[in-house]
Symmetry: C2
DNA sequence: CTCCAACCTGGAGCGCGCTCCAGGTCAAGC
DNA sequence: GCTTGACCTGGAGCGCGCTCCAGGTTGGAG
């Protein structure tokens, strides 16, 4: 149920092996278990963290902030408020990001609609900036 | 109506002066007008391009692809199909990007809801991976 | 005519998030 | 016991998209 080889953890998390090692090196993942010989063994808990990191990364959180979150979580219960605030602020930024993306997507779609009306079009419609 | 100093173009486009020069250097903006003394003068058409570049950039298009688009547009009418296709493919990627962002945002919100139920909570609810 | 802020060029440097490499170790299957 | 593929470490390198710098020029205001 628990105890995954590095390659298995990579497969399950979708991060590369190098990225997993990198995340440990910079302190995102801490205290990863080892075999007596020194090879990593990832737990379900580690995989849970990786799911979270993927979520935060995909929503554009810089690694420094993920590190801060992870450190707070390791410090224990008394950092709960700060963690909630950190995630809350991030969520607000993501909302803004989504609005911007939607707006620019609409622009893009409009531009494409312009092209789609062209085939039957009069030359002379060229509306600047590359049509 | 037309003919903006660099600083004015920067203000209007939201790109820095350095970025404007960089975009010209790499061939995104081509044939920017100059004063006899060599200083740039941006036209409304240039600003139109910059609006487009901002749209593409904000939606995650790599610069190399913007360059390709701009070059096609400069080559004339016969590249219209390819340009439409390029934008269409990009739009599809953007849609995927929006879906992912939404999904991860939902995850994030769920995590935050967990924190918001904590204040009145029993200790012992700590659900791993940093709560 | 003088001043000075805005502009020019070529090229180096940076911040981010990995990714790759060399040279060595570990461990499961035969 | 041997082989071999997965794994280890430390550190260098990379791709992207700018950003900054030095050292010099321009051009409008007074």
């Amino acid at each position: 149920m628990s105890g995954y080889a590095p390659s298995e953890a990579a497969r399950r998390s979708g991060f590369s092996l190098d990225t997993l090692r990198y995340y440990e090196k910079i302190g995102l993942l801490a205290d990863v278990d080892r075999t007596p010989g020194g090879q990593r063994v990832f737990t379900d808990d580690d995989l849970g963290w990786l799911v979270l990191f993927r979520c935060l990364r995909d929503t554009g959180m810089p690694i420094a902030q993920m590190r801060r979150y992870a450190q707070l979580a390791r410090e224990g219960e008394h950092t709960v408020d700060e963690r909630r605030e950190l995630l809350g602020h991030h969520a607000a930024r993501v909302e803004e990001q989504m609005r911007l993306l939607q707006r620019q997507y609409d622009h893009l779609r409009e531009k494409i609609r312009f092209y789609e009306r062209l085939p039957a079009a009069d030359p002379g419609l060229e509306a600047g900036h590359g049509t």
